[in-house]
Amino acid sequence: MNFFKRQWMVPYLFLAPALIGTIAFKLYPIFIGFWESLIYTSFSGGAEKRIFVWFENYQYLFDDKIFWKSLEITAFLTIIINPLQIAMSLGLALLLMRKSKFIRIIRSLYLLPIGIALPIATIIWGLMLDPNQGLINGLIGFFGIPPQPFLVSENQALWCIIAIATWKGVAFWMLFLLAGLEDIPKQYYEAAEIDGATPFQKFRYVTIPQLKRTILFVFVADTAANFVLMVPMIILTKGGPLQSTNVLIYEGYRSGFYYQDWGRSLSIITILTVITLIVIGLQLLFLSEKNEGIKVK
């Protein structure tokens, strides 16, 4: 490799603009946030005192059953919502690969939810899920099912939020999967067909391996997005009923912006960030392929 005298600088030059932005506007504030999570602010005696307490805020959290409940709900939500959204997006993307006269218009219509901002989607769904007169209760009544409480029930609220987020999210992630599917050379399928592959075999041995990198991206991005999902909680449930939708990000948000307990808030956020990193790391570890990039020294 003697094309370029300062070969080792090349990747860093490519990285520089994004890296500077990341360090200045993401990593530095993250560091500050972490630092603040080690500080306890007291107003006793009417004066503000900021005390460096090491991990006392965290210790306080670990003794708090609300935190544990919140962690449990976050784990449950993560386990349900991510595979569900990925499976539905992939299913929909496959459905929309079929040739049809109307395919362009059908695809466009399926992408509608991307245009509706999450707060407004949440408000609309909130009205549709109204336990008294809502549209959904009207519809299921048609099939003889009694009216359901939906968002006001401890057992159903989280599922409603999953439904809202999925309505909004599937269209978005489907778009990436659709692009990935379009990218798979048609010859692969033809070759498989000649070998007498069933549709399932084609899916298993052509589609999945070819789509792996796209799926990994969508999986990671979707997971990160769902860890910070809180708009429906802010607008509809406030973490209730009985804390059944009180995910970590919402508990962190309200500890800070509502309770003004920034030490607690930022401790929760730090823990959430670490969890997110671990989950994303695991996804990368298991789904990533080896990167055989050009070595520079």
Binding site: W8, F25, P29, L95, G115, I116, G134
Partner: protein
Amino acid sequence: MIMHFKRQWSVYLWYLVIFIGLIITILPFWWGVAASFKSNSDIFRDLAPINIRAFLPGFSLESYFAIFENDFGRSMLNTFFVSITSVAGGLLINSMAGFAFAQFRFKGDNIIFGFVLLSFAVPADAIAIPLFKMMRQIGWFDTFYALIIPMLANGLIIFLYRQFFLGIPKELIEAARVDGLSWFGVFWRICLPLSVPVTLGAGLLLFVFQWESYLWPLIAAPSPELHLIQVTLGRFSTEYEMVWNQQFAASSIAGFLPLVFIYMFQKQFVSALTGVEQK
């Protein structure tokens, strides 16, 4: 004959599934648009109890006039300016970084990539306050700089490009290098042109980030001249009530614009498809 029937049957099934899916997808949107043409009390009259009128648009344009009196036009323009600048700048710097991660192994690459992951694992609202203080210190508070520049570098987009560039055959790049193309030339002339669909996806991501951002523009740029669309939407409520029809009117317009973008996107997809078929 039987084959033919079987084929027909699967087509009908496909249409049925697609149709049910479409209803679920469109219904809330349709209802919102219909409601935007009604007065607030009519919205609720049609909901309680729910009846077919809820899905028929009203005839009132009152909410549309009201939102444009409320500076909705200005905030649309602002959001466009901010989104387009962010998309342009963000695509360039993040694709370059993605290229570096995909094509090279260099000292510290794994650690740097780890930091990239960290940058999108942390919730945006959580860093709003330190970022806010920083904007004040460097004098960007309440300017367009605060809305655009911190949002350019985006770990998710870097990651997206890295994933895509990993799939470009190494032989292609080595051949170009042998032909004397610089690394930037490889990036600009070979890799970027191949990545049209992924660039559109990334562009949409960046666009939607700005289109949906609320807390950051609210605290970083409070002047009315700098309001972005979600901030303006949030203002269609008073102390004691929500002005439902204005909310819906504004979001109908706001939702329509990304759709135009997506429709353009569609065309690109089709050309990407035909491109593959010609290979």
